[in-house]
């Protein structure tokens, strides 16, 4: 076995030992909860690994895609809100949709104005006017519709379909958004793409937070169903709370774990085969790859969309597990940069590296909270013992320790293991 493989196995063994340690220290229910969330983050990390590791595309908008994934699973799996369907809400929304389509066609016509002889400056002004008109028309339809829905039915409610359909739908919608974003922004240089994707993520956050009629925004939506029996269902069958928690969360982990395993198999086969070879060539030298017959822009778009699908599904799994969709709880640190740390520490471009980074960093991220409290508690005791008095509000301060630790981990990783703990190994052909 090559040294790289033995090193990877050693790291994974250490990870298992760490998880067992957490199990002993913090109890099984806590650990199973951690594993489920770690599996969701693993999926998200694999998605980012496809975009950055395979394709060298700088996606800083992970938070936005996560929120869309979460909103979609809420919309699909939440029970049907009869008040909405019985009101004229659907009809109003229909008209708003038609207005949007008309506006879109208007813009499309303006963009092809050069066919009827309108060129250059005139054409751009025509496009701007088309955008303005369609925006005003759409706003004239959507504002009354949303006001009516919020007044009458609170919000659109869900479709009551199975949760797994919600995850898939989330992946699909995110793929659509990623396709549009990719078409616009993929020509940009890496650091411009980073800024553009952050911007898109902020727009998505603002939209979801304020579209009360669809997502109830800051009023949050709960409870959201699980794909597997809930702890309460087991308790109903007479199981004590402790084992009910383990069974329920264990069931959820099996589903999430199965998805991660399936995705790993597909990715390893794809990245190991001709497709992976082509993507590595494009990332290595896109000019040469272009001259060797690879349609670079199409391939980069493919990679961007594929990665976004996994991120969307991961977002859905997280929201379903938490059983609450709260747009306000999404922070760039926890939902964008944390995943970047996972990839950098794990090893960009290597599926096993990304998986390892995701689980390892998530365990560290979760553990840092109790550990920090422990640390601050002892310092505070020591300082009050010495007479300086306890450190004020340890509770919130120790939480912030994690943010500092995260930054420290990135800085150290870039200095001493820039290619990650399980770096991408050149595929020496068998």
């Amino acid at each position: 076995m090559s040294p790289a493989v033995t090193r990877a196995l050693g790291l994974y063994a250490a990870l298992v030992v760490l998880i067992i340690g957490v199990g002993v220290g913090m109890g099984i229910p806590y650990t199973t909860r951690m594993l489920v969330e770690a599996a969701a983050y693993a999926l998200i990390a694999l998605g980012l690994n496809i975009q950055w590791g395979y394709g060298g595309l700088f996606n800083f908008g992970i938070m936005g895609f996560l929120m869309v994934g979460g909103a979609c699973v809420t919309f699909i799996s939440y029970p049907i809100n009869q008040k909405f369907w019985n009101s004229d809400g659907p009809m109003l929304l229909g008209r708003a949709l038609i207005a949007a389509i008309i506006g879109f066609l208007l813009i499309l016509a303006a963009r092809n104005a050069h066919r009827i002889g309108i060129k250059g400056g005139w054409k751009t002004t025509l496009i701007v006017i088309a955008w303005a008109i369609s925006y005003v028309v759409f706003r004239s339809q959507i504002d009354p519709a949303t006001a009516y829905i919020e007044a009458q039915a609170g919000f659109v409610g869900g479709l009551g379909l199975p949760v797994v359909v919600g995850w898939a739908f989330g992946g699909l919608v995110v793929a659509g958004i990623a396709w549009v974003v990719g078409r616009i922004c993929l020509g940009l240089r890496t650091d411009y793409l980073a800024i553009a994707t952050i911007g898109i993520s902020e727009i998505i956050r603002a939209l979801i937070k304020n579209m009360q009629w669809l997502t109830r925004g800051t009023l949050t939506v709960s409870p959201i169903r699980w794909p597997v029996p809930l702890p309460e269902d087991y308790q109903a069958k007479g199981m004590d709370t402790f084992s009910a928690l383990i069974y329920a969360r264990g069931g959820y982990f099996l589903v999430a774990g199965a998805i991660v395993a399936a995705v790993m198999v597909l990715l390893i086969r794809a990245y190991g085969g001709p497709w992976g070879r082509m993507m590595r060539a494009i990332r290595d030298n896109y000019i040469a790859a272009g001259s060797m017959g690879k349609n670079v822009t199409a391939r980069q778009l493919e990679v961007f969309v594929l990665g976004s699908i996994l991120i969307g599904i991961g977002g859905g799994i997280l929201v379903s597990f938490a059983q609450i969709f709260d747009p306000g709880s999404y922070q760039p640190i926890n939902h964008t940069f944390l995943i970047w740390v996972m990839i950098i520490v794990g090893g960009a471009g290597n599926n096993w590296g990304a998986l390892f980074g995701a689980v390892f960093i998530y365990v560290v991220w979760l553990l840092s909270e109790p550990l920090a409290q422990l640390l601050f508690g002892s310092i505070s005791d020591w300082s009050s013992h010495v007479g300086w008095g306890a450190i004020p509000d340890i509770e919130s301060r120790s939480l912030q320790m994690r943010v500092f630790v995260l930054g420290l981990v990135i800085s150290i990783a870039l200095r001493y293991a820039p290619r990650g703990l399980i770096p991408e190994v050149a595929q020496t052909s068998r």
Partner: protein, 332 residues
Amino acid sequence: MDQLIFFINKVLVAGTVLGSIYALGAIGVTLIFGILRFAHFAHGDMMTMGGFIAFVLAALCAAAGISGPVPTGFIVLPVAMALTAIIALGLDKAFYAPLRKRGAKPVTLLIASIGVTLMIQGLIRLFFGVSTRSFFETEPKKILRFDMSWLGGSRPITFTQPELLMVIVTIVICYALHLFLSRSRLGKAMRAMSDNADLAQVSGINTALVVRVTWIIAGALACCAGTMLALDVSLTPDLAFNIVLPIFAAAIVGGLGQAYGAIAGGFLIGFAETLAVFDWSVLLRPFQQWLPFEITGTISLVPTEYKLTVAFVILVIVLLARPTGIFKGAAT
């Protein structure tokens, strides 16, 4: 006439203040990009750190009983700017210079700046907790009112003293920067290196010195912008993290690497944001009879909660239409 005063208060004053904060932030970003060719994401948090340093110094002054006609925030500003500049130099030496020495690509430096962002945010929250603080806990925020009755206006033009000082400070800094870049030896060397780094080296310019000066200016201006933002709104740990986007938008719109572009970009984005969320119904009411539609409630281009997206929409339009920005900075 009242409508005009309303417009001045709500758009002219607010836009100028916001524009000056974005401009000072964008200058730092564009200088770092011009010299070191990477987008410095930690710039927002350097501003927040500067704001907190000024806050601590102001608290010390208040404790020592020092006060003056001007809010203490402004008195301690020069010292705070110097301290932040030193910290900026330290950050470069600790986190960015080692990577540059090993020939790291600009993208790696960008990721390193994320690490720095998180560390600064962690430290700020560690030392100052998460609560919101204000410079004006001890001293009142003077409001200046200009009576406009001689022009028939029933309402005065109002703006706060810090806002006035902010605009003055920004003008002074921009002029000082202009003199530095156009007259001084080091300033020209910075422009030269930003224009053509290889030729600068061949001309014998000491590139290490230019890099140090860049960090000093970027750090000082970041502190100034952060303090002013804190004086204008209030001091919270993620104070500047939310305006990283508008600052980058301003730098890119102005043309990356062009200091004058950053100033123009900052004010453009500042005014665009204020105009987008401005309530036009007040202005339109007198012309109600000529208007086809009937004015009910507020009419604003963009609902206030989408204010942040305005900067981004402008950024995307500029990136697609004219990636080199107004002043022909680095292209995509």
